[in-house]
Symmetry: C2
Subunit: 114 residues, 2 copies
Amino acid sequence: MKEFNPQVSAVEALGALAHDTRLSVFRMLVKAGPEGLIAGAIAQAANVPPSTMSHHLGILERAGLVESERESRLIHYRADYEGMRRLLAFLMQDCCQGVPEMCAELLGELNCNA
Amino acid sequence: MKEFNPQVSAVEALGALAHDTRLSVFRMLVKAGPEGLIAGAIAQAANVPPSTMSHHLGILERAGLVESERESRLIHYRADYEGMRRLLAFLMQDCCQGVPEMCAELLGELNCNA
DNA sequence: CAGATCATTCTATCATGCTCGAAATATCGA
DNA sequence: TCGATATTTCGAGCATGATAGAATGATCTG
């Protein structure tokens, strides 16, 4: 039986993002939106072999940061916004429970200017 | 000459937080506020030897997530809110430049309830 | 200055993670 | 069914990270 430990999930997600190639891929997918990108195109864009990229995408997926869906021979990867939200919420939670003033200030600077 | 690469800094910060002990310590320091905590107390609270904790604190400090200040024999560690803000801003930036609707929704759920 | 306290740095061992070619799997078109 | 395409899984070699005892550095007190 696999328990739900928010901190363990957060460590896994942070570890998934703590890699140059994987962080680039995640950002790429966030920008790509709901349509996502095809595995091969991601590997090509990041300039790494398909097998290496597959490994990285697996790590991001297991961490709950991306989702994949097969469409015939192609596999679409897209960012998992809910996973991202969980991670950010976990990090902010400490802030809110600790020093709300600083937390508020921090959130205030994070506005979308789009 | 050491260049400033936001992505490299982000990877370093994410890597620093991607460890159970270090994430616990960082949360602890965020909750502790500006006064921070003493190195020895942190090691004791996390139940790890001082040398191991010193190693972890060094990683967090080099990543720009905590600051240290000596006060006689004791060394105070406190969370670096500016470093945390930079990391979160970097992660949100992708979101904002990509799909602003999702970004806004995501930020909306991150309100301090304190 | 000597001894005690607090913390870091050193060093060695052990564990985990990254990379990528080769082989395997899945799907399509002829 | 056969060959081509897209992707993953496997396996091995290499690199990096974690851990903690011992030694070192910094500071206070008597």
